[in-house]
Amino acid sequence: MTTDFVAETRRASVRSMVFRFQSLFGLVAVFVAAIVFSPSRDGELLFLTSDNLFNVVRAVSEIGIIAVGMTFVILIGGIDLSVGAMLGLAAVGSAVLLVENDFGLVPAVLVVLAVGLGFGLLQGVASAVFGIQAFIVTLAGLQIARGLARIWSGGQGVAIAYGEGPGEAPIAFSLLGERTFNGLVPIPALIFVVVAVLAVLFLRGTAFSRHVYAIGGNEKAARLSGVPVTRVKIVVFGICGLLAALAGIIHAGQLNQGSPNDGLGYELDAIAAVVVGGTSLAGGRGSVVGTVAGALLLGVLNNILALNSVDTNVQLLIKGLVIVVAAGLQRLRPS
């Protein structure tokens, strides 16, 4: 009976390991599948070329950065539907400030980041202080941010030209579309990695992160234990807005323009990445590592479908199935 018990415990711990890193296993599985199904040219697997791999990371960098912020919000049991619209607002803001208002690179970036942070903080106040559900607050925030983007841009995309003269953005801004390290690593991918690493460290080792998890685990207990629940919630929404604005700046830099329709539906892709990454929508459980894995998993999937020229409509079906399967697997997780 004792040995039974030991074996049982060991099995249970192996199982909980598998579930803990479920999204990483999922990522590996999709990666292997991508290698198997990769078309090849001149005997080289297209999927595995360094160019392609870095492209995958570049392609997920905007959603990935947003998803990192979304992870914080979902960990406290909230949701932020405004991030896609915030990306659009930030892209438009970057373009307008650089091109029409002749802002320098640093002031423009700081102003846009401040807009994102402020917008997020306001949503946090509405949700935490006035007790309106996050879903409703950020649904309204989505409309407002989209509206502001239209107003700020005059309703259409603002193209970014580079140069020294008036009406031209500093050339440094175009770096966001470039690659570094011998033209290998796309700058957006680099920023994504830096954001992800910072977030992982932050969420592992700070008192703030303990408060975030506690609020998601049991908000009432957290409050009675002295956790400054209201303040933490506001800051979390602030972080999410800030990261969405950062993604918007990158978006403008990559596409050399800012359009009020940028980032349409990105909030759903970000939520998908978080959920596939194993973070519970109920809050209190999950990780940024999982989210990064989730974002990459969806990115690899997109990439391999595109490499095989799968019809885009069919791509949507496959993505949907993957999300449902990933969420379904998490229900098997031992509680």
């Binding site: 018990f5 080792g205 700070t206 008192a207 303990r210 409050r223 209190g284 459980r285």
Partner: protein
């Protein structure tokens, strides 16, 4: 069967394992018509598992269930209900957003001839049912707004409305005041006379003596003793449950009449869930260092609200609170904790713990920002703090990384206590600290409270268990209708005095 009394249901050689752990081993149990059969045992002894088997909740057991001497196999709670077996769960299965009446008739709502919901019939039948059971509640009130005790009454009424022949009650009185307990016992006596069989799980010995006919004691999943409940002593039962003689339940600590005054509450008017007709004069009391002061009173007397208000977790208040020599008005729990107060809420599952988080995370929650340097938490120091307090309170666990939900009720409560003590408080505010906790853990918690007092902390302890108040406290303040109506020294007064003072007059529940 024996005594010629018909057995309503029988459990024959029932065993049930979870993974490698055997929760029940070949348990035999019968419930006869017209009897209250008490089921005793520490948490983890297998009582709940056994009852989940009987109520059709667990279906992968070995052994036989008989109903009226016919073997049956339940494939779900619905089967058991159809056979006349209903269970009142420890975790209440009520829908908070629905009214009392809607909860009672959930899934079998009366219809009009047009097949629409017949609200009037539903309300009428609910009123009749509540009146018959002596429960004074408005059937239109939302269940979510009710206090735990009132919710418990609703789920009892719900089970009764199912015309159950066998009623399983799992700690039905744990959240009830003594007046409500009396009322429920009247209901139980009524059911017994009508020929129902009742399985009654409780940790309260006095209740068993009052209402049970027979008692079966489980330990480690086995039946270890059977008693005629009427001449069973509390010591006999406790010994059978623990498997060794009980050490003294209540440890005495030095009474510190001389301790410096820690808390003075003057004319504090607390917002109550059911305000009385007249404006209450408020509550006045004092707590010295080294003293354990009890708060007695019926449900709605303002016990919980007083603690919440002191802790800054209640609503607006009037009156003054002097703590450690200066007037205080905490803006919320965080500032109260900084002042040196900590609070244990009455329901640890709902307001005390994040159950699927680790013991570690739950234990250090109140002090993580103190442990942190520049906001960064050292994992070593964090684990060190948790491990130390968990050892000090002798919490039984495999690892501090295990989820709190893996612990027994008593050990969960110790985790809450540990979190409080880590803040190095001066005043402990406790609401029903031993609810749903087994005998052994109860004694340990009393011992820990005594230790805290000895170290110079003040303790304000609200409880509906009179034996606990008399056994643990130096003084007991009796609240009624939001006022302090009596103060008793436990050296001189007993449970009967407390009860009389709590009732005082007929208080509408």
């Amino acid at each position: 069967m024996d005594n010629g009394v018909a057995s309503l249901v029988g459990l024959v050689r029932i065993s049930k394992s979870y993974g490698g752990v055997r929760a029940c081993r070949e348990v035999d149990l019968t419930v006869r018509a017209g009897e209250v059969h008490a089921l005793l045992g520490e948490n983890g002894a297998g009582k709940s598992t056994l009852m989940r088997v009987l109520s059709g909740d667990l279906t992968d057991y070995t052994g036989t269930i008989t109903v009226g001497d016919r073997p049956v196999r339940f494939h779900g709670p619905a089967d058991a209900q159809r056979a006349g077996i209903a269970m009142i769960h420890q975790e209440l299965d009520l829908v908070p957003g629905l009214s009392v009446a809607e909860n009672i008739f959930l899934g079998r709502e009366p219809r009009t001839r047009l097949r629409t919901l017949d609200r009037r019939a539903m309300l009428r039948e609910t009123r009749t049912l509540l009146r018959r059971t002596g429960i004074d509640l408005d059937p239109r009130r939302q269940v979510g707004e009710l206090r735990t005790g009132e919710q418990q009454l609703v789920s009892i009424a719900k089970a009764l409305s199912l015309d159950a022949k066998v009623l399983i009650m799992d700690e039905p009185t744990s959240a009830l005041s003594s007046a409500e307990v009396d009322r429920m016992f009247t209901v139980i006596a009524e059911l017994r006379r009508a020929g129902a069989g009742i399985v009654y799980i409780s940790h309260r010995m006095d209740e068993i003596g009052r209402i049970a006919d027979r008692a079966t004691v489980l330990r480690n999943g086995c039946v270890v003793a059977e008693f005629d409940a009427r001449d069973m002593t509390a010591d006999q039962a406790a010994e059978a449950m623990i498997g060794r003689p009980v050490r003294a339940m209540f440890t005495t600590h030095e009474t510190a009449d001389t301790g410096e005054q820690l808390l003075e509450v003057r004319d504090l008017v607390v917002p109550r869930s059911r305000p009385g007709r007249r404006d209450p004069a408020g509550i006045s009391l004092t707590v010295r260092r080294g003293e354990i002061v009890g708060l007695a009173g019926l449900l709605g007397s303002g016990r919980t609200e007083l603690l919440e208000t002191l802790f800054g977790a209640g609503g607006r208040r009037r009156g003054s609170v002097i703590f450690k020599g200066r007037p205080v008005r905490p803006r919320g729990p965080r500032s109260a904790i900084r002042l040196g107060m900590v609070y244990m809420p009455e329901d640890r599952r709902i307001s005390g713990l994040a159950l699927d988080h680790s013991v570690l995370a739950n234990t250090v929650l109140s002090v993580v920002d103190r442990i942190a340097r520049l906001g960064v938490v050292s994992r070593r120091r964090e684990a060190g703090a948790a491990t130390r307090i968990v050892r000090d309170l002798s919490v039984k666990l495999a690892s501090v990384r295990d989820p709190v939900s893996a612990l027994s009720g008593g050990n969960q409560q110790k985790v809450v206590l540990g979190r409080m003590l880590l803040t190095e408080p001066d005043l402990l505010l406790l609401d029903e600290p031993t609810r749903g906790v087994d005998v052994g853990a109860k004694a340990e918690i009393y011992h820990l409270l005594g230790q805290a007092a000895q170290r110079g902390m003040g303790v304000l302890l609200a409880s509906s268990e009179l034996a606990e108040l008399v056994g643990v406290c130096d003084r007991v303040i009796v609240l009624r209708g939001g006022r302090d109506v009596a103060e008793l020294r436990t050296e001189q007064a007993g449970e009967a005095d407390l009860l009389a003072a709590s009732m005082g007059e007929v208080v509408p529940l």
